[in-house]
Symmetry: D2
C-alpha cells in the first residue's frame, strides 16, 4: 500500500536544474517550567524553547536518508536535560544549546535557538506560613502582559545574540499630537493636537559584545522603554519609537542596534454631536483593525550590519 | 433579484406547531476607553460592553417587522453616550444600561449586560515632569493577566448582579499532592505527594444585596482567591477550589454563591532516567491539551437558587 | 515545607452555613485521530472529547479525600480505549462514554460528554497509485470552516443528546434589508434596502427520540441551514434565524428544538464621496468589533422544556 | 500639561553617534469585501491588505515633522478606493498600490504591500430562485482552511512578487516512515516504518517574470502541493517538502524559488498495553506542542538570490 514517487523521468531530467536552497529544522515551542528549590523559597522559570539546526541535511531532502537528521525529538530531550543545570537567562540557555549541537555533530554548522520567557511573580500574602517579605515562598501569579524573547543564531564559530520583548501594551491619554501630514485626493483624516497614543511594543536589540549580564540589561531596557514612551511628548509614533531606541542605545554601550514593530492602536473620539452632547477627549472607541504599523531601527553609526543575526527573524523584528 | 421565501404552504401548515422560543439580541464587545481628566492626573478605564435585550420581538422573527427592534447600532451609541457620565464600576455601568433600556421601551422587559474590564497601571518613572508618587500622570502600562467581568441580568424589576474574573493564572511549585483515587482497568496515573499545581482561575459570584461597593469588594475577593490558592496545602484541585470559595463567602456576607471553572494545567515531571540523570521535581513539561477541568459552586445553605441570574452565562460560570 | 490550612476555627464555625453546590470535573479536549484501515481505502475521524463526571464528590472538596475521584487521567485513557472500537458518530461515542462511567462507578450519577469533530476530505489526485474515484486512499485535506459538535448529558437513567455546529461562515451580497426600526435620541443608523448579510452560524438542536441516524441527520440539517440562509430574503437577521430553525424542525420530526447564536458581522459600505467616486454597493469595510449578536430558539409547541439537556452548555447555545 | 523631551544635552551629544536605520510604516489589515455585481450572478472577493511605505521619513523620526508622512489613514482610504476598480488578483492589486504610492510621492522610494485572500464558495441549493448550476447567485459559504497570500515589494523601479498560501492542513494515515536517524545520549525516539504524517503547509514562491496569470498559477500550484503531499511515500518530512517544491518548479517556469515552513504535527500512537488491548495504528493522540518545524527552500540553480523580495517577510517564509 506504500506510495511511490511517480515523478516521470522526463520531469526528473528537467529537474536537474532544481536544487535545495537554505533549510533548517528542529523542535518548536518546547515549554517547560524549571523549579529552583535549593532553599524553601523556590524560584520558577517558565520558557518556551525552539531549536533549529542548520548544516548539511541534503540527503534527507533528496533521498530520504536520515543519517544526519538529529531527530527533533532528540532536540526536545536535550532542551529538557539542559534545563537540569538551570536556565540562567534565556540568552545563556540558548547559547549553551547552540554550543552543544554544533560541537556534537560535525555536519551541524549552526542554527537558531529561540526562547520566550513568561513572568511569574510571588503571590502577596499576609499569612505567615511559607512566606517572607510579604510574599509566598512557592506560590506565584502570572504577571505583566509582555513576553521576554531571545534569539541566538550561530554560524560556525560566530554567535549572535538578540534580546527582546513583545506584547508590552502601553497607552497615553494625552501628550500626543498628529498634524502637518500631506493631503491628497484620498486624505480625510483631521489634524489633532491631543489624542490617545496606544501601542503594543515589540522590540529586539542586538548585543555587540559577549558575556553581558543579560537579566540585568533586560530589566533596564524594559524600564527605559516604558519611561521613554511616557516621557516623550509625541508628534508622531515614529518620533516616539526613535526616542525609545535612542535612549536605550545611549544607556547601553553593549547594544549596537534596536528594532521596533509598533502598531498604532487607534482610539477614535466618539462623535457625540447627534446626541446633543460634548466629548472633550473623554470617550474613545478602541478599534481593532485596521491599525497603523510603525517599524524602524535605531543603531550606532559605527556598527556594521550583521544580517546573520537577523536571518529568519519574523517580520521587521 | 430579491430572494423569496419559498417554504411551500404544506410545510407552512405543518409549521403551525413550530414556535419562537426564548431570544435575545444586541451589540457585543463595544470596546471603549473612558478618560477622566478633571485633574492633570488622568484615570483611564477600558471596558468591553455587550448589551442584549429581551422582550417581545416576535414580529421581527416571524414577519421581518422591525418596529420593536431597538437597533444594535443604537445600543452601541447608548453605551458610548452613557460612558460620558463615567463608568464607576462595571457592575454599576451595566445596571444603568439595564435601567435605561427597560424603562425607555415598553416591550423591552429585560436583558443581559456584560462588561469586561482591563487593567491599566501607571508607568513608574523617575523623571519629574507629569508624575507624582513615582508614577506618571497620564501614561499607563497594561497590567496583570486577568480580566474583571460583570454580568447584570434584569427581568422586569428584578436585577441580578454577577461579578467575576477570568484568566488569573497561578502556580504552586510544591504543597500539592494527589493520591488515594480509585484504580480500574484504564488507570495508569501514579500517585504523588509533591506536584506542581497550576490553574487559570475563572470565577463568578452573585451579590444578594444591592448597592455594594463593587470595586472594593472585587479587589478584596481577588486578594482572598490568590491568598487561598497559595495558602491551602492541596490534596486535590477540588479541595483548593472549595477553600477558595469558602474563604470568599466567610469574608463577604454580601455574596451568596461563587462558581469556579478551573483547568488543571498539567506539568509533567520529565523522565531523566534514559539520560542517566535524576529529576528531583526540578524540570517539568508544561502540557497544553488535554487538561483537567474542575468546576464547582460554593454557596450559603440559606440562599435560594436564582437561575435568572445565571441564564445564558457561558459554561459552568 | 508543606502548606497548612490556616482557616481559623472561628471562621470554620461561621462557615458551617457554607456548603458545596453543583460540581463536575473531568478531562477536557482529548484530541485523537481514529484511522479505520480495514481496507486500503482508509477513513480518518478526528475528534476532541471532553468528559465531565457528576455525582458524590463531596469528600474531595471538603476533606481532600480522593477515594471517589475517578482521575481525569483515567477518563482520558478511557476515551482513547473506547476509540479502539470506532467512533461511529460523535453522539454515539459520547453516549457510550456516559454509559460506561455511570455504570462502572456507583457514585457517578451522571455527567456531560462533549465532542467536537473536524472535517477531513480526500485529496483529489489524477495520479493512479493509491487512489480511486479521483481521490486518494489515505491522504486528506482539512475541509470547511465549521466544526461539528455534540453534547450528551446523563442524569441517572435519563440521556439527553444535543447535536450542533459552529463557525459556519456565510455571506449574502444582496437580498437583505433593514428598516422600520424605532428611532430615539441615540439612533443614527440609516435604513437600507440592500446590504451585505454575513454571520457565523452556531447552532445546537435537541433530539427527542433515541437511536437517531446522527450522521445522516447532521448532514441534512447542515444542508438545510445553508439553503435557508441563501434562500430567505431577509428583513432582519432575526427573521433569517427563525426561518432556518423552522425549516429544520419542519423536515426533522426527531428534533424538538434548535437554538442559534448568530453574530451580525457588519460590512459597512465605504463612503467614496470625499474621493469623488460612487460606491453602488461594491466596496465594503469588514468590521471586527463591535458586532450584532442575535440569539434565539425555535421549538415545537408540544415539546416540554428540558433544562437538564442544556445545563452548563456555553452561552445561548 | 504637555510632556517634554527631557533627554539631557549631555546624552544628546553622546547620541550624535546614534542614527536612524531602516524603517517602514503604513496601515495593516485593511479588510474589505468587493462585490462584482454587473450580472445577477455576483462574485465576492474578500481581502485583508497591508500597505507599508519606505523612503525618506527621517524628519518624522528625528523632529516629529510629519510633512512627508502620508497618513496611514490615507493609505487605508486609497486601498478602499482602488478596490472600486476591482481586485483582479491579490498580486495585481498589490502591484497597483505599489505603483500609486511610489509615483505619487517623490520621497516614497518603495515599500511592501501584503494581501491575504479568503475563499468564498457558492452555497449549493436545489431551490430554483437566484441560482444556476446548482449553486446560489449571491449566497456564499467560507471554504477551505487555507489563506492565499501575496507580498509585493518595490524598490525604486524594481518590483518583486511573492505568492503563497498558509494553513493548508493535510494528513496521511500511512505512507510515511521515519528511521535511520543518529542516536546519542538524549535520543529515545523509536524508529517507525508506518506513521501518520500531518502538517499545515505555509509556502511562498517568487515569480521571476512579470505579467503572470496569477490566479491560474496559484490554483495549479495549490493542486500540485496537495497531490505531491499525497503521492510521495515519505521517509522524512524534509523529503516530502523537497518533492513538493520540485514538482512546483518543474511545472512552472515562471517560478524561480519556493520556500516552505511546515510543522510536523505529531500524532502519537496510544499505548494500549496497560489496558490489555492492541493498537495496530488505529488510535492516535493529536499533540499540540512541541511540534517539529521543517523549513526549506527549493530553487533553480540559475536564479540569482533576491533578498529584496524577501525583506521583512515573516520567519522562513
Amino acid at each position: 500500500m506504500s506510495d511511490t514517487v511517480t515523478t516521470p523521468s522526463t520531469v526528473a531530467s528537467e529537474a536537474g536544474t532544481i536544487v535545495l536552497g537554505d533549510n533548517q529544522y528542529g523542535k518548536a515551542e518546547v515549554r517547560l517550567v524549571r523549579v529552583d528549590r535549593d532553599t524553601r523559597r523556590h524560584r520558577v522559570t517558565e520558557v518556551s524553547v525552539t531549536s533549529q539546526l542548520r548544516g548539511d541535511f541534503a540527503s534527507a531532502h533528496l533521498e530520504g536518508d536520515n543519517s544526519p537528521v538529529v531527530a527533533t525529538d532528540t532536540q526536545k530531550n536535550t532542551i529538557f536535560a539542559f534545563a537540569k543545570d538551570g536556565i540562567g537567562s534565556p540568552e545563556e540557555f540558548a547559547i549553551r544549546l547552540a554550543e552543544h549541537f554544533t560541537s556534537s555533530f560535525d555536519w551541524v554548522s549552526g542554527g537558531r535557538w529561540g526562547v520566550k520567557q513568561y513572568t511569574w511573580e510571588r503571590i502577596p500574602t499576609t499569612l505567615t506560613n511559607n512566606a517572607s517579605d510579604g510574599t509566598h515562598d512557592h506560590a506565584f501569579v502570572k504577571g505583566g502582559t509582555e513576553t521576554r524573547t531571545a534569539v541566538v543564531q550561530r554560524a560556525g564559530e560566530d554567535v549572535f545574540v538578540l534580546a527582546g520583548l513583545e506584547d508590552l501594551s502601553v497607552l497615553k491619554s494625552t501628550g500626543s499630537e498628529f498634524h502637518g501630514f500631506p493631503r491628497d485626493r484620498y486624505t480625510t483624516l483631521a489634524e489633532t493636537d491631543d489624542r490617545i497614543l496606544a501601542t503594543s511594543v515589540k522590540a529586539r536589540w542586538r548585543y555587540t559584545i559577549p558575556d553581558v549580564d543579560y537579566n540585568a540589561v533586560y530589566a533596564d531596557v524594559r524600564r527605559i522603554l516604558l519611561e521613554a514612551f511616557a516621557d516623550v511628548h509625541s508628534y508622531a509614533l515614529q518620533q516616539t519609537l526613535y526616542k525609545m531606541g535612542e535612549r536605550v542605545l545611549a544607556a547601553h554601550a553593549e547594544i549596537g542596534e534596536i528594532r521596533f514593530s509598533m502598531p498604532n492602536l487607534h482610539h477614535f473620539l466618539v462623535d457625540f454631536t447627534p446626541f446633543g452632547l460634548e466629548n472633550p477627549n473623554e470617550v474613545f472607541y478602541a478599534a481593532d483593525r485596521p491599525y497603523g504599523l510603525i517599524e524602524g531601527e535605531v543603531k550606532r553609526s559605527g556598527v556594521a550590519p550583521e544580517p546573520r543575526a537577523w536571518a529568519t527573524v519574523a517580520g521587521f523584528c
